[in-house]
């Protein structure tokens, strides 16, 4: 049924942005097809692993503890991106985000108060009841009810685009190639973080050791095709958002439960059992987001967070148990580290720790003296058995390279002209507003806001 029909709008992708676009176009009366490259279970790309979205709101609601104004949202975005954002577009997105809470609820998505362990986000972020996959299930049900044609295992392998105008997509579907014609294209197919060969172009062989936190289907093939036919690119192609995650996590799709947020409680050593960075540098945003990159810079792209019994109960549990030992030598053995060097590193660290009053909720006064690199906060001696360790590797969340768009989510060509009928939403164009860094839930905001706009504009375009 997908090959015989000419659609008003064809959406490539199947996540939050794609579904918002499809629903919004269908609500305008357009005939819409969603082509999702993954099998049905894995539909939705990284949306499956999300849990909340950040929307501006003027008052507290049933599930949000207080107001989060447009200006504050903008300041947060400015802070995390260090100014690498398009202010006009970003401010427009933030103002549109206000309507999203209502709109997305109207599409059947339900919210709940912030989850245990995330109280700090209770004011700013709206959590999906049941998480990202529950949200997706609601959006898919709504899209189906609106008559949207949905195909799974339908990977776009070629795009017929001439002079900035989309004509059709060739897809691999049920083992055959099919051509799907449409008056408009919405590209909502994510970034290229699961394409480690592509990542290797920028990171070298190190990229092979990276773990991908989300979907294995974000291989960036649509992004590549669009850039190849002259769509303007945005965002640093060499950059990605990476955090340190449990090295025992699967190569792909480990999601939230492989995260580790205990760097501040101990020290981090590399394969040579040596420290390499200040574990107490900052609360936010560095502590979490910087460690992926730091570990990527170490030999074999692996590191070990080491702490003792005094910290084991201070952070959220994660999937894999900490590696436990009664002595440092035993721990070194389990981690296959040089025991002499590890003991030496710990002894030096312990000797450098100055007395202070430990408080992990703020930048406290527990620090080292005369140690290089120092630990500038939360430094406590690691001396109480049992000793624990987590092995960590860089876990890639998303990439920044994308297609340039205007405020109507319309793609912009390299010569500056707007595309006739091509739109983009979600991670594939996130770099327009999020040039670097990350703030929880902002990927979903970008997806929903621009998805809704892209669908609406594409549907409008189809009527002209």
């Amino acid at each position: 049924m997908i090959d015989s029909k000419q659609f008003d709008v064809v959406v490539l992708g199947g996540g939050n942005a794609a579904l918002c676009a499809a629903i919004s176009a269908a609500r305008q009366g357009a005939a819409v097809a969603v082509l999702e490259a993954s099998p049905k279970f894995y539909r939705g790309g990284n949306t499956r692993h999300t849990r909340n979205m950040r929307c501006a709101h003027d008052t507290a609601t049933e599930t949000l503890t207080g107001p989060y104004g447009e200006e504050e949202f903008w300041e947060d975005l400015l802070k995390v991106t260090g100014g690498q954002t398009d202010e006009q577009l970003a401010r427009y997105m933030i103002s549109e985000s206000k309507k999203m809470l209502t709109w997305i609820s109207e599409q059947g998505v339900r919210f709940q108060p912030s989850l245990g362990g995330t109280l700090s986000l209770g004011r700013t972020n709206s959590f999906f009841l049941g998480g990202g996959r529950a949200m997706l299930n609601s959006l898919y049900r709504t899209a189906e009810r609106l008559g949207v044609t949905i195909a799974y295992d339908a990977e776009a392998i070629d795009l017929d685009i001439e002079d900035g105008g989309f004509r059709s997509a060739t897809i691999l579907y049920a083992g055959k190639t099919k051509r799907v014609g449409a008056r408009n294209l919405v590209a909502a197919s994510g970034g290229f973080e699961a394409n480690l060969e592509w990542m290797e172009e920028y990171w070298g062989p190190r990229a092979r050791k990276f773990l991908v936190r989300g979907t294995p289907y974000n291989r960036g093939s649509v992004l590549r095709m669009l850039l190849d036919v002259g769509v303007a690119e945005v965002g640093d192609p060499t950059q990605c958002h990476a955090v340190a995650i449990d090295a025992r996590a699967p190569k792909f799709d480990g999601g939230i439960i492989t995260r580790l947020d205990c760097v501040v409680f101990g020290i981090v050593v590399n394969k040579e059992a040596r420290r390499f960075y200040d574990e107490g540098e900052d609360i936010w945003p560095k502590r979490y987001a910087i460690w992926g990159r730091l570990v990527a810079g170490q030999p074999d792209q692996i590191a070990y967070i080491i702490f003792d019994a005094s910290s084991i109960d201070l952070f959220m549990p994660s999937l894999y148990p900490a590696i436990e030992a009664q002595t440092i030598a035993e721990l070194a053995g389990k981690l296959e580290l040089d025991p002499t060097q590890l003991s030496k590193t710990l002894a030096e660290f312990n000797a450098a720790v100055r007395p202070g009053s430990f408080d992990h909720t703020k930048l406290d006064d527990c620090r080292t003296e005369g140690l290089d690199p120092p630990k500038t906060h939360w430094a406590r001696r690691i001396e109480r058995a049992p000793f624990y360790a987590y092995p960590v590797r860089p876990g890639i969340t998303f990439t920044y390279l994308g297609t340039k768009v205007d405020r109507n989510a319309r793609m912009v060509m390299r010569d500056g002209r707007p595309s006739k009928n091509m739109f983009a939403a979600g991670e594939i164009m996130a770099g327009n507003v999020l040039g670097r860094g990350y703030a929880a839930g902002i990927g979903m905001t970008i997806g929903s806001v621009f998805g809704r706009i892209a669908g609406r504009e594409a549907a409008k375009n189809a009527c002209n």
Binding site: G132, G255, Y288, P317, L319
Partner: protein, 385 residues
């Protein structure tokens, strides 16, 4: 680490879920889980009995099969529940009833019906059994009232004692302190939660299977079954009062209170169980526990038979078939009663007790006295995740 394979799997899943927590708003299981960092067998018994098997968390889960983490909480907890019923059974010698429970209940019910029919045939003269009886005392011409009362009183007392002792063992299994189980506010809240099946709704959207049609079939039919059962019980109680306090003998007129209550209850006990059986067939097989399937069906069918034989008896009580129908109905009811401690009936009791403990935990947490790792300051300061 855990006593059985089933507990081992449940323990693995709770570790996965506790590091995700996306389902926290779906039901009581996940908030209760978050109060713990590791899970003893008793914890798992407790959590399993909080689960209503609505299936929402399975549909919502990004790690459910075919994902390699293979997370299927509803099925895993259902299996733990069956083990928890068997482990708490009193007397312990009868815990085997929970193994192939469908078969065990069928045999018990068949035996009970046979004994009643045979008893009626053997003890009453053939003429009386197939004669028409009507008016007050008609039933007792076949089985004297005192004998009937004695038989059912004994069965009821046995069931009540066995259930109570099982409940005691169950509570002991999760190590709850006396004060954890005697908080009247917690009991009031648990009564409301179980009476309204608050947690059989996937956090407000209905059971997972209902997503498409937006009607919570299982909740509606469970209410009909439960309240139907309650009305039938009430009808019997009113009739007992009539008998002893006012000297009025059954059968009663169709517009009399015991018959009205019994009729309403009987309809509930017919429509409800049929609906539950249909709803069960419509469910995603992935979330239906194979371990409890026979037990579920056996209990539902017993309730259906109770309702149906009662209603048929009411309809045909003025005919010559009354004697046989009375024997059948009494046989079914007796079978239902004596198997209550060894079948799915026990789920209601255990669920209620788990909910009472859950409500108590919530009260303690609200008072800030629970040493929970629910919001570690380490996470509180971050903006990213």
């Amino acid at each position: 680490m855990h006593a059985t394979k089933v507990l081992e799997e449940a323990g693995r899943l709770m570790t996965v879920c506790n590091s995700c927590r996306y389902c926290e708003g779906v039901c009581a299981v996940f908030p209760a889980m978050e109060l713990r960092k590791s899970f003893t067998d008793g914890d798992l018994n407790y959590l399993a009995n909080l689960c209503h098997n609505c299936g929402a968390c399975y549909d919502d889960c990004q790690y459910s099969p075919p994902h390699e983490f293979d997370v299927n909480v509803p099925a895993a907890l259902a299996a733990v529940r069956v083990e928890s019923y068997a482990a708490a059974a009193w007397p312990s010698a009868l815990s085997g009833m929970f193994h192939r429970n469908g078969l065990a209940i069928s045999i018990a019910a068949a035996l009970s019906v046979t004994v009643f029919v045979a008893g009626f045939v053997g003890l009453t003269d053939r003429h009386a059994l197939f004669a028409k009886h009507s008016g007050p005392g008609a039933f007792y011409e076949l089985l004297p009232h005192d004998a009937m009362a004695a038989i059912f009183c004994a069965a009821f007392l046995y069931a009540a004692v066995a259930c109570a002792l099982s409940a005691k063992r169950f509570v002991a299994s999760f190590g709850a302190l006396r004060r954890d189980m005697t908080d009247p506010v917690a009991h009031a809240r648990a009564t409301l939660a179980s009476g309204s099946l608050r947690y059989l709704d996937g956090g407000g959207g209905g059971c997972a299977d209902d997503g498409a049609h937006r009607v919570n079939l299982r909740k509606v039919f469970h209410h009909m079954t439960f309240y139907g059962f309650a009305l039938c019980f009430l009808a019997t109680a009113v009739a007992t009062v009539y008998h002893y306090a006012f000297g009025r003998e059954a059968p009663y007129a169709v517009d009399d209170l015991p018959v009205l209550l019994g009729t309403l209850g009987g309809i509930g006990l017919i429509v409800g169980p049929i609906g539950l059986l249909v709803a069960k067939r419509l469910r995603d097989p992935a979330v239906v526990s194979k371990a409890s399937y026979g037990m579920d069906v056996a209990f539902i069918v017993m309730l259906l038979l109770t309702g149906a034989t009662g209603m048929i008896l009411l309809a045909a009580r003025d005919t010559a078939a009354m004697g046989a129908l009375l024997a059948l109905h009494l046989g079914v009811v007796f079978g239902l009663m004596i198997t209550m401690p060894y079948g799915k009936f026990i789920h209601g009791l255990f669920r209620y007790l788990a909910l009472a403990r859950y409500e108590r935990e919530r009260i303690v947490v609200a008072n800030g006295a629970f040493s929970a790792v629910d919001d570690p300051p380490s996470a509180a300061a971050t903006l990213g995740s």
